[in-house]
Symmetry: C2
Subunit: 338 residues, 2 copies
């Protein structure tokens, strides 16, 4: 009932009648130890329920902690969930534990999280940079050997490894796919803020595909939204234009949800859609949703392996790894304009 202290090495030592060091030796299989003491120590450990205090151990050993700090925009976004799982799967065998937090794409929250992680002496830092965040404060940490990886977007003010999707090429392919099916008025529903790297890159891919097709740029076909509800409204606005688009391109998975929901609500089946990033049930929609799929698993795994290589002493210069996207043709993107 009482809030008793957790047992320490000294408690175990006292129980057995040996020194703390001996207990430490047995547990870490460090120096030699007689079978007898060995038995007794292990018995006492089990009896008292002793677990070595990892924080105390780490402070003594001095090295970085066996944790990996991960900052993502939103724990509930399935895309980042899949990325996080891939990272965890990759680092688990190394015994690293995940320290996670959502930045909500707010630079201040991102900074608060990275500061906390650094104060905990994480051995690796993986960050999905927020718009407006500056990462020069991480320079000294990188200089002392801390692997820092930017994920999904490049960071600002720090030269380090980045892992990104082929945003521009992927969006280009998706829009070119719509063009190939006869569309010339193609709406773009992107997330906010407009300065967001992925948004900018994907919009650039959208533009280049239209340019190649000789379609003049029409600013009124570009819409923005913060969330699914916003994307629904943006879709309604685009389709309400005097000269409305015959096709829509979704800038990310959340925008895709909004577009699809709005089209379903208004029973519009005549609008072609291609989405950047896959969503569940895409095949079950009518028409099924054509997407430019990102490889969340590869993004996470690559980020983790790159970081582990750095941890193992890889001192080569910072590099950006681009994970390819893949156009998955399912129906919605192959509809022709009326």
């Amino acid at each position: 009932m009482a809030a008793n202290r957790r047992p320490t090495l000294a408690d175990v030592a006292r129980e057995v009648g040996v020194s703390a060091k001996t207990v430490s030796r047995v547990l870490n299989e460090d120096g030699p130890a007689s079978a007898q003491t060995r038995e007794q120590v292990l018995a006492a450990v089990a009896k008292l329920g002793f677990q070595p205090n990892l924080m105390a151990r780490n402070i003594r050993v001095g090295g970085p902690d066996t944790t990996i700090g991960l900052v993502i925009p939103d724990l509930a976004n399935p895309f980042f969930g899949a990325v996080a799982r891939a990272i965890e799967d990759t680092v688990r065998e190394r015994g690293l534990t995940l320290l996670m937090g959502s930045s909500a794409d707010d630079p201040d929250r991102e900074r608060a999280l990275t500061d906390k992680f650094l104060a905990r002496r994480v051995s690796i830092l993986i960050v999905v940079p927020s718009v407006g965040a500056d990462h020069s404060h991480l320079k000294p940490h990188r200089a002392t050997g801390l692997p820092v990886i930017f994920l999904d977007r490049p960071g600002v003010g720090l030269s380090t490894d980045s892992i990104v999707s082929s945003n521009r090429a992927g969006a280009h392919d998706g829009v070119a796919h719509l063009v190939a099916h006869g569309h010339r008025r193609i709406g773009f529903v992107g997330d906010l803020p407009t300065r967001l790297y992925t948004r900018r890159e994907r919009l650039a891919g959208y533009r280049s595909a239209l340019q190649e097709a000789g379609v003049p740029h029409d600013r009124s076909l570009i819409a923005d939204a913060h969330d699914q509800q916003g994307a629904e409204a943006a879709t309604a606005r685009l389709l309400g234009l005097a000269d409305p688009p015959t096709a829509l391109f979704a800038g990310n998975n959340i925008m895709a949800l909004g577009i699809v929901a709005e089209l379903a609500r208004t029973k519009r089946k005549d609008v072609a859609v291609v989405a950047f990033d896959d969503v569940s049930l895409a095949e079950a929609l009518e028409p099924a949703l054509t997407v430019v799929a990102q490889d969340a698993e590869a993004l996470g795994r690559t980020a983790a392996t790159t970081a582990l290589a750095r941890l193992d002493g890889d001192r080569s210069r910072a590099r950006t790894t681009t994970v390819p996207t893949r156009l998955i043709v399912r129906g919605s993107g192959e509809q022709r304009p009326a």
Copy 2:
């Protein structure tokens, strides 16, 4: 370039020409300090980029660490992602950081995670128990005041707070809804293993609804699957029966994805469906998916607030909080049998 040591209190003290304790005082706004030294210390801290080592601080202070350990089956499952976000949102203002891991519903992995978290002296432990896991090893920890919360399912071998959805009542309502629309042959597609608490409870709700309606139990209408692909196969099997079901009940979100995907693939629109747990794009399906929605946000928030109350000294006896589910009528559950 070199792997320099991170600066310590002593480094800052040396830089300024004061004692370590003085630096500590300034940073923690502990005792008094002259404006002069204050300035100098802060300047040196900024110059050296000093960040107090949270682990060292914690080991000295003795209390639990400012982390909260969270074990969930799968980081990539949107349901648990939403739960995790709610927990994070609730504990953030208390300055707690999330230590997370996926158990993959494997008792050994769960144990490995909880052991790691305990070795890190987390101040709160929230666990989604795996099937077959025994939690009696957490007893001494709970006795020393560590708040332990079971989430989504009750744990075994430890009496402590649990937060669960109204699984049985929710499933009952969903199936009764199908019965009310004329169905008497209703298939159940549940996850595995069959011993899983949520699965058992939901199946019990299914059975009681059928019993109330006077429908005899038919074991051949119960199917199982591990994942979405399995659920698709299970759906195909059920619909291939000599006397097939006219309606299907999905035991969780993943099973729902499988059922919907399979029905879409085979263009079956005549089968009524109600799913336990909501999925994105449910409204955009044809017919839109009727669900028994869980309140992931409330589950996470309640788990967190319960844990925080314990941390603040709440010594009342362990209680189970049931978070209500809500039937959302959208179309698929209102179809009548042929």
